[in-house]
């Protein structure tokens, strides 16, 4: 009980700063609806740790009743103190707006605490607990309260400063010497209380004394550090989540700036050239689409999204090939890939052949769109390049044209693949390329 009183005093100076702004209503009805409904300790308008006012706000009761209940329970065997301490440790501080405390309420609260202490002293003297038990207990309570209070303060400081400190920072909270002094004082009080308690029981023999002192030390350390660990873990989780969110946002903004906004600017400048506008827009669409939905895209693992790394997967590589042709020839290449596998030497050759087929279609077919369909099966990989353009008569291709013969037929055959060309003048062209997969 003295612990609560002591803490109230350390708190007074700062509460006095915020106080005169407005008269806080004793029963905060109107603020109730805006809260998330989760129990929070109040940061201001508190006498000790803001537990009572937080509970009052949560239950929508006058804060005086809650304090009265805590005091009454404290007189009944100290249950109120225990409840208060547990709530203090496990209920997070509210990070909401600050509300100053009224003079009247402060007086009521202090009166309640004094009344409670008096009742406790009377009760203790009535049941005649030995002084060597009560006095060290009070000292320990005061010390622990000081340290815990400092943990609250350090948390608030870290909120103010944006919270980027290590464990030492979490302990001291950037409070510097004052914080150190307060923590040392609190720790000293706890140790002192425990020592007094042990000295008071010196009639017990040495072995039990040793055991007891170890146990008491451990309890002391636990009591001192529990609130920090609880809050440290909680704060770090909250902070990590918000940092990830803001990093994501920054990354999306940066990407849109680098790609879409730049392209739109270029399009505005080159609005006269229809072909150039189409090329820019198509390239941008492909890039953004790949970023959003592609196999290396935004939704997947970030390491894979490095642009200039060689594509190790067939589908991504085919997409890149089609994109290059789109850019160079300002046509649309619609590509559909079923399945995927790792690239090897044969498939690289097939990709080169497919590229040549798409380039041929872009150059000679005279169409705006080429379809590319690839299917990865367990035994072979098939690529079909199709356009609905001019078509040609295979028998009348001059001998000096090497594209189809060398780049497609030759390449595929050297690696054991097959090529079939279906075409006739006026009905478009389809190049079918099949490559057996390596046995591995």
């Amino acid at each position: 009980m003295k612990a609560r009183f002591k803490r109230k005093r350390t708190h007074q100076a700062e509460a006095a700063d915020a106080r005169p702004l407005a008269e806080r209503p004793t029963v905060p009805l109107s603020t109730q609806s805006t809260l998330s409904g989760q129990l929070r300790r109040r940061r201001t308008g508190r006498l000790v740790a803001g537990v009572a006012s937080g509970v009052a706000e949560h239950l929508n009761l006058p804060v005086l009743w809650v304090r009265g209940a805590f005091a009454a329970l404290a007189v009944c065997g100290g249950a109120g103190i225990l409840a208060y301490a547990l709530l203090w440790v496990f209920v997070p501080q509210s990070s909401g707006a600050e509300q100053p405390i009224s003079v009247k309420e402060r007086q009521q609260g202090v009166g309640m605490i004094l009344l409670c202490i008096g009742a406790m002293v009377a009760a203790v003297s009535f049941i005649a607990a030995p002084t060597w038990v009560v006095a060290p207990l009070v000292v320990v309570l005061v010390g622990a309260a000081v340290v815990w209070r400092e943990a609250d303060e350090s948390q608030r400081r870290r909120w103010r400063q944006g919270a980027r400190s290590g464990v030492a920072g979490a302990l001291l909270g950037g409070g510097g010497r004052a914080a150190l002094v307060r923590i040392s004082a609190g720790a000293a009080l706890v140790v002192l209380g425990l020592v007094i308690f042990l000295v008071g029981t010196s009639s017990i023999d040495d072995v039990r004394f040793g055991l007891l002192s170890v146990l008491a030390t451990l309890i002391g350390v636990a009591v001192l550090t529990v609130p920090w660990w609880v809050r440290l873990v909680r704060d770090l989780n909250v902070e990590r989540a918000s940092r990830i969110r803001s990093q994501e946002r920054a990354e999306i903004a940066a990407h849109l700036h680098d790609s879409v906004l730049q392209t739109l600017t270029l399009i505005q400048k080159q609005a006269d050239s229809e072909r150039e506008v189409r090329r820019l827009a198509r390239g941008q669409e492909r890039e953004l689409r790949n970023w959003l939905y592609g196999p290396d895209g935004y939704g997947s693992e970030r390491e894979a999204a490095i642009d200039d790394a060689p594509a190790a997967r067939f589908a991504a590589a085919l997409g890149r090939v089609c994109g290059e042709v789109e850019d160079v020839f300002a046509i649309k290449v619609q590509q559909v890939v079923v399945g995927d596998c790792d690239l090897d030497e044969r498939l690289t050759a097939q990709l080169a052949a497919a590229r040549e087929a798409v380039v041929n279609a872009a150059k000679h077919a005279g169409v705006a769109e080429v379809s590319v369909y690839a299917e990865v099966e367990s035994e072979q990989v098939s690529v079909y390049v199709r356009d609905r353009g001019a078509g040609f008569d295979p028998d009348r291709v001059p001998d000096d044209r090497h594209g189809l013969a060398d780049s497609i037929h030759g390449r595929m055959q050297r690696h054991g693949g097959r090529v079939k060309v279906r075409t006739s003048p006026g009905s478009g062209t389809e190049v079918q390329m099949e490559m057996p997969r390596a046995a591995a």
Binding site: L292, S300, G339, Y373, E375, Y384
Partner: protein, 231 residues
């Protein structure tokens, strides 16, 4: 559909344009679709449009269109949500998904919720009008990309999970063949002549693929999506 009896003029049922309702959260895109479909005004008539799920549900209820052109990506749940709500009201209307999305999970989700087809937003106005007429007639319309998605979902990879109900979950070789040609960019008519079957048969195959896609509730689609880290 009008039921034409006896001597009534068949032209009436033939020439009446299909009543279409547009759902897309981008007003600019809706205006574009209206303009594109305006060129085929004798075949397709846009009776209304909506920019959100709630508007769409009310609008479809009010206008009773024959075909709804449905965007996949919208706030408040997207096309699948519209489908769910309209279907629960038991309105007889056919949905055609019209999407810019390349994310197979979205597209497959809309198809599985009961859309009769899926076309991409790069489609030309004439092709879109064709697609609308075809779904109105009870057919399924697949774009090459969707055909690729479905093939991928049903493909029997070396590490594919065991299939619980083969009749439901597997595509017949003929259906695979049809889908593969679709994915290669063939039109229904070209597929028919390629496979020496009638266009009607092609349509039947595609419709049964659609039914399987809607019915098969397990393994392939979810496994396929999770393989690609889409879920």
């Amino acid at each position: 559909m009008l039921i034409v009896t006896g001597e009534a003029t068949p032209e009436v049922s033939e020439s009446r344009p299909v009543r279409v309702f547009l759902v897309d959260d981008h007003a600019l895109f809706r205006a574009g679709v209206r303009a594109e479909l305006g060129a085929s005004a004798d075949r397709v008539e846009v009776v209304g449009e909506a920019g959100s799920v709630a508007e769409a549900v009310t609008g479809i209820d009010h206008y009773r269109p024959e075909v709804v052109l449905l965007d996949v990506h919208m706030p408040d749940g997207g096309g699948a949500e519209v489908l769910r709500q309209v279907r629960s009201k038991n309105i007889e209307v056919v949905f055609l998904a019209l999407s810019v999305s390349d994310a197979a999970e979205d597209v497959i989700a809309v198809i599985r919720s009961g859309a009769r087809g899926y076309v991409t937003k790069t489609i030309s106005g004439r092709e879109l009008a064709d697609a609308v007429e075809r779904v109105r007639a009870g057919d399924a319309v697949f774009s090459p990309r969707l055909a690729g998605f479905v093939l991928d979902a049903f493909s029997e990879g070396p590490n594919s999970a065991p299939v619980g109900d083969p009749e439901l979950d597997l595509l017949t070789p003929r259906e695979r063949e049809v889908l593969r040609l679709l994915a290669r960019g063939y039109a229904y008519k070209e597929i028919a002549s390629e496979l020496f079957i009638s266009v009607k048969t092609v349509e039947t195959h595609v419709s049964s693929v659609l039914r399987k896609t809607q019915l098969s509730n397990r393994y392939e689609l979810s496994r396929w999506a999770s393989d690609r880290r889409l879920v």
